[in-house]
């Protein structure tokens, strides 16, 4: 005769398989997430915008020594 499930610890074979699959999937997802975080992300270049948002025109004579530092 089957013993009573006094402590709620027993489960059917089907439940056990479901829980095992879930735990495995969580483990795989966690490992992937950790791996993604651990690897430095690759720098991606910005794409040039064709139109300048400010005004476009001429600048002071290039031979004039700049007033800017550097």
């Amino acid at each position: 005769m089957r013993q009573a499930n006094l402590w709620g610890l027993e489960m059917k074979r089907r439940e056990f398989i479901h829980k095992s699959i879930k735990a495995g999937m969580a483990l795989v997802a966690g490992t992937c997430w950790l791996a993604k975080k651990a690897v430095p992300r690759k720098f991606v270049r910005a794409v040039p915008l064709r139109k300048y948002p400010g005004s476009v025109g001429s600048l002071p004579d290039v031979l004039e020594q700049s007033r800017w530092s550097g």
């Binding site: 400010g54 290039v62 031979l63 800017w68």
Partner: protein, 323 residues
């Protein structure tokens, strides 16, 4: 859709239609775009000594360009009119990379400087121009605060011959309160640049009351010597009241001289004073026999006695790019 810019340590997450902290890298429909590519807001032919670079092709003119924007917001910025400007409010000239290289060659410049604001924020423009310039036999110089992530920095340095990096202070607190940045990434960038074989010169702007105490200067010098080597040229530059620091006086010549003496006493071989009239702290001497090698007045090279990059008296090789 948000995008993340991974160019500098700020790693801005940018909302659609917004820009990063630098003002020039924007999110357009989920794509990161640079608005200043091919548009220079400043373009000049300067003496290379003005960058300042004292150990790189002395006495030669350098084709210098900048765009608006900066990823730092230094309260003392000397070029704040362009570095802190919005592109929408600025004036620029169309200068694709090919045009810059062509103009530099026409002007008989041996090199191009990406300077004035900060080439980090016009990264793609700098990269493409530097690559093309290298192919055409020109050298490339960056004048930068080097607040950049390691991967893009290493990529860019492949096409760079010399850098002048602004080491603004030696405490994280200084970087946070004065520059809206942090110290460690700048130190990393300096070490990476040195290790990559690029000529490295360092500038420190000495600001009264903020980073001019002898112990602070000594700590900075010790870091430079320990991490970049005693041959790394160090420029102490004079501060003038600008932008959000108009309440402070200009750095006194005495403070700059003290800074130089500290650096020399700590064992740095090439220490200069900049942004100030006069001859003191402008010349290059042989660290071995103390012979005067390069005499300068302001940005003018009065005489250059180096022979094949060596001291004519004792034959010691002098750190630099001389031809």
């Amino acid at each position: 859709m948000k995008v993340q810019c991974e160019l500098c340590p700020k790693n801005c997450v940018i909302e659609p239609g917004q820009s990063g902290e630098c003002r020039v890298r924007i999110n357009v429909d989920g794509v990161l775009r640079t608005v200043v590519y091919g548009f220079a807001c400043a373009e000049h032919i300067d003496p290379v000594e003005k960058k300042p670079l004292f150990h790189f092709l002395p006495g030669t003119p350098i084709y210098s360009i900048a765009t608006v924007g900066c990823n730092l917001h230094c309260r003392n910025c000397q070029n704040w009119e362009i570095s802190q400007a919005n592109p929408e409010e600025s004036r620029a000239v169309s200068r694709p990379p090919e045009k810059i290289v062509e103009l530099a060659r026409q002007a008989n410049c041996l090199s191009i400087a990406y300077t004035y604001s900060d080439p980090v924020v016009f990264y793609e423009y700098t990269y493409d121009t530097a690559k093309l310039a290298r192919e055409k036999g020109l050298r490339n110089v960056l004048v930068t605060a080097a607040y950049i992530n390691p991967e893009p920095w290493r990529r860019l340095l492949r096409f760079v011959d010399a850098v002048n990096i602004d080491l603004k202070g030696i405490t994280d607190d200084f970087y946070r309160t004065v520059c809206s940045a942090t110290l460690k990434p700048v130190q990393n960038a300096l070490v990476i640049a040195k290790a990559s074989g690029v000529l490295v010169e360092v500038t420190n702007l000495v600001i009264p009351t903020l980073n001019d105490k002898p112990e602070q200067l000594r700590e900075l010098v010790r870091w430079v010597k320990a991490n970049l080597g005693a041959d790394t040229p160090l420029h102490f530059s004079r501060f003038f009241p600008r932008y959000k620091m108009r309440h402070l006086p200009p750095t006194s010549p005495q403070t700059l001289n003290t800074a130089r003496q500290i650096a020399l006493s700590e064992g740095l071989n090439y220490v200069y004073i900049g942004n100030i009239a006069g001859k003191q702290g402008q010349n290059t001497y042989c660290p071995g026999c103390k012979t005067l090698l390069i005499e300068r007045t302001g940005y003018i090279v009065v005489q250059n006695k180096l022979k094949e990059g060596c001291c004519p008296d004792c034959g010691r090789q002098i750190y630099g790019v001389w031809k």
